[in-house]
């Protein structure tokens, strides 16, 4: 809604993406005022955003919405890792109960016009029976039973219920693919930051990434444009896991899936990486989402393709492998500079 005097409430501003989004939407001329809400104060600079310390799991949030005359709510307080929330229980409470409370408050706010929810493609799950590309109308092949994927599925269920009850509110759900970028800290980025990357033997997952700037941009467009519905958002193209790791020039250790799971729990207790079961399924089977609706209805075009987003992320990492490439480059150099004096030992 581009009307002047638009007041946007953003939840989950204590975390990096929420804070960045609040700042970027505050810079939008169509937006008058941005209120950031979270239980803990943000670590970085909030700029023009006014911060209100409130817990969305608490009815106080209704008072904030009413008092500040909020007409747009952007729900970004869905966390994917139990680590930052201090355990799976509090993660679930924050995600599911927080959303319920927020939506209950929204339902009672007569001035509310728009609701934008940041969801994720994790809700499609990952299995061997998946179609190659999920469209927004498809359901996961197997209903998620635990973890983040289940939280997201429940959250989307509540959002759909809200949309039915308040048909005057425009509801846009953004299902973002794995967000990646030089400063993003998420299960998938901490996985790729491991010096030696464990992979599942015999499987090669298809991956899609969304650059963090594209996520901020698509959420901003969802706030300012008059579009409703659910949208898959991902960068163009696909990277295979093996290909991504080769581009990072990091060595891999292929091992059976069960072992990767065990290693994952060790890594989790060492706080090196987070390997939830759904993450393991994702790294085994991968997932692709169809972004036709994003282009045609939402009118959004990501500025980074999957490969470009990954390259931007990879530029901040130092390669720990890449010996094969260096050896081949050496052979190639020798061949091109002096083809007549081929030295011994070449085995191209």
């Amino acid at each position: 809604m581009g009307s002047a005097g638009s007041v946007v409430l953003v939840t989950g501003v204590s975390r990096d993406l929420g804070r960045k989004f609040a700042r970027s939407v505050a810079a939008d001329p169509a937006v008058d005022r941005v209120i950031g809400v979270d239980v803990v104060p943000p670590r970085g600079d909030l700029g023009d955003v006014s911060f209100v310390r409130a817990d969305i799991r608490n009815p106080v949030i209704a008072k904030v919405i009413a008092k500040e005359d909020v007409d747009t709510v952007v729900h970004m307080s869905v966390i994917s890792t139990p680590g930052s929330a201090g355990g799976r229980n509090s993660m679930k409470e924050l995600n599911v109960i927080g959303t319920m409370q927020l939506l209950a408050a929204c339902q009672k706010a007569p001035g509310l016009r728009n609701l934008v929810v940041k969801s994720t493609t994790t809700m499609y799950g990952a299995s061997s029976r998946d179609p190659a590309m999920f469209t927004e109308d498809m359901e996961p092949r197997r209903a998620p039973r635990s973890g983040y994927a289940k939280d997201v599925a429940e959250i989307e269920g509540y959002v759909r219920g809200f949309a039915r009850r308040r048909s005057d509110v425009r509801v846009a759900t953004i299902r973002a693919a794995n967000v990646i970028g030089p400063y993003v800290s998420s299960p998938i980025t901490s996985y790729f930051r491991l010096p030696v990357i464990p992979t599942v033997l015999g499987f090669d997952a298809r991956l899609q990434f969304l650059h963090e700037q594209d996520l901020l941009e698509v959420l901003r467009q969802a706030v300012t444009r008059d579009v409703a519905g659910t949208f898959n958002v991902a960068g163009d193209g696909i990277l295979m896991l093996s290909q991504a790791v080769r581009r990072l020039q990091r060595p891999t250790v292929p091992m059976p899936g069960i072992l990767v799971g065990n290693l994952g729990s060790v890594l989790r207790s060492a706080r090196l990486a987070d390997f939830s079961p759904e993450q393991l399924a994702f790294l085994t089977y991968g997932r692709g989402v169809d972004t036709t609706r994003m282009r045609e209805v939402l009118g959004f075009e990501p500025s980074y393709s999957t490969a470009e987003a990954f390259a931007d992320f990879a530029s901040t990492l130092t390669p720990t492998g890449g010996r094969a490439d260096r050896a081949l480059a050496g052979v190639e150099r020798q061949l091109t500079t002096s083809p007549a004096v081929l030295s011994g030992g070449d085995h191209g």
Binding site: S128, R129, D130, P131, A132, M133, T135, M138, V200, L201, G202, F203, D204, R206, G237, I238, L239, M240, S242, Q243, A244, V245, R246, R247, Q249, P256, Y285, G286, G288, D290, A307, G322, A324, D325, L328, A329, V331, E332, L335, T336, P339, L342, S343, G344, G345, D346, G348
Partner: protein, 385 residues
């Protein structure tokens, strides 16, 4: 080691049985002019012998590749050789020429640019600098590796003969529907190679759930262009203008006993027809003759199959009797015939939701394939020719 153990080896070119004793008179007679010499023994040592006096004759260190015919051993002067490392003494020029010959052998006359291209290819693979499509299809590795590996099998082993290739449209989506046989889905691979070699198009197979559940197989399947046989993927590929291959008999087809060869099984639920109807692409029936005989399925171990979660455990006349050797397919002669395309764009919208029509078209495709199979079998001289 002053007194080395003396081991007599061979007869040193003289008649006799190598016992070190005087040859028998018969042997002496056979040997012609050679005089009987007093018994000698060869010592075989890695190092030069320390004391020639310790043994009563010249010591030879025997170097296997350079051993000449030791006929006149008695006249030879004492020889010592110096032990060398396995690589140290080979001059660089030899390496170079060996390498050049190898390169010439592998890449032909234009080996230098070829080798450079090959290296560039290797580097692209190692650094991940290649593209895959949304189904995970890796065109480069499929063309340069999978196809290249399968082509000799198709051309030399099965001597595949393709008929009616003009029935495959040169562009746009089309659905190739084929019979399925042969215990192991080799027919799918061979069809992929044949279609690519004859038309330059890639046949994108639709694979069963099991394919994508198995490690290694699933990764290879995705890389070579396969995707899961589900309505969503089939319609997506067809509307994307791909040439899609489907084997509607599934495991009922490849896992049927040899006695039921060339009898088409039920064609699933006709999902492939409704996908073609929805996307309006032609259906090209394909009949494959020859695949039934590669692994004649004579038995099955249902209990083990259930335990492993696979549709069947095949027993063929050679497997598991001969172990891994039993995995070599029998070299039957293959015939592939692509039939007239069945147009689906003439039906009106909503035809895909008319079950009667879908069943009719399914039957039409099935009948076409079955009749072509019979006529091909008549034309074939024998299984192996």
């Amino acid at each position: 080691m002053g007194d080395a153990e003396i081991i007599p080896i061979g007869t040193r070119g003289r008649p006799g049985r190598g016992t070190g004793k005087q040859p028998s008179s018969a042997a002496r007679g056979l040997a012609g002019g050679s005089k009987p010499a007093k018994p000698r023994a060869a010592t075989r040592k890695a190092r030069p012998a320390p004391e020639p006096a310790a043994v009563e004759e010249p010591v030879e260190t025997v170097e296997v590749p350079e051993v000449p015919e030791v006929v006149e051993a008695a006249e030879r002067p004492p020889v010592t050789t110096v032990d060398r490392g396995p690589l140290a003494g080979i001059p660089a020029a030899d390496w170079l020429s060996a390498f050049q010959h190898a390169a010439l052998e592998v890449f032909g006359d234009q080996w230098e640019p070829q080798l450079a291209r090959f290296l560039a290819f290797l580097r692209r693979r190692v650094t991940g600098d290649y593209a895959v499509d949304e189904y995970g299809f890796d065109q480069e590795i499929t063309e340069r590796f999978f196809m290249a590996a399968l082509r000799p099998i198709a051309e030399r082993w099965f001597r595949i003969e393709v008929r009616g290739i003009e029935n495959i449209p040169t562009e746009g989506g089309a659905l190739v529907v084929s019979n399925h046989s042969g215990t192991v889905p080799v027919d799918g691979l061979m069809t992929m190679v044949s279609v690519h070699d004859q038309t330059g198009r890639f046949l994108r197979p639709l694979g069963a759930d099991l394919v994508f559940r198995l490690p290694v197989v699933s990764a290879l399947a995705r890389k070579s262009g396969a995707t899961l046989a589900c309505t969503e993927d089939a319609e997506r590929m067809l509307s994307g203008g791909e040439l899609v291959g489907v084997w509607p008999e599934g495991f009922k087809g490849i896992g049927k006993p040899y006695s039921e060869r060339y009898k088409l099984q039920r064609f699933g639920r006709g999902g492939f027809v409704s996908a073609a109807l929805r996307t309006g692409v032609p259906i090209v029936p394909l009949s494959v003759v020859g695949a039934e005989e590669i692994y004649p399925l004579v038995g099955n171990v249902p209990s083990l199959a259930r335990l492993l979660g696979v549709p069947y455990i095949p027993i063929t006349p050679l497997f598991p009797l001969l172990g891994p050797l039993g995995l070599v397919p029998l070299p039957s002669k293959w015939l592939l015939e692509f039939g007239e395309p069945i147009r689906t764009d003439e039906y009106d919208r909503g035809a895909a939701d008319d079950p009667m029509l879908v069943f009719n078209v399914t039957d039409q495709v099935r009948e076409t394939i079955q009749q072509t199979l019979y006529s091909l079998l008549m034309k074939r001289e024998s299984v192996f020719r």
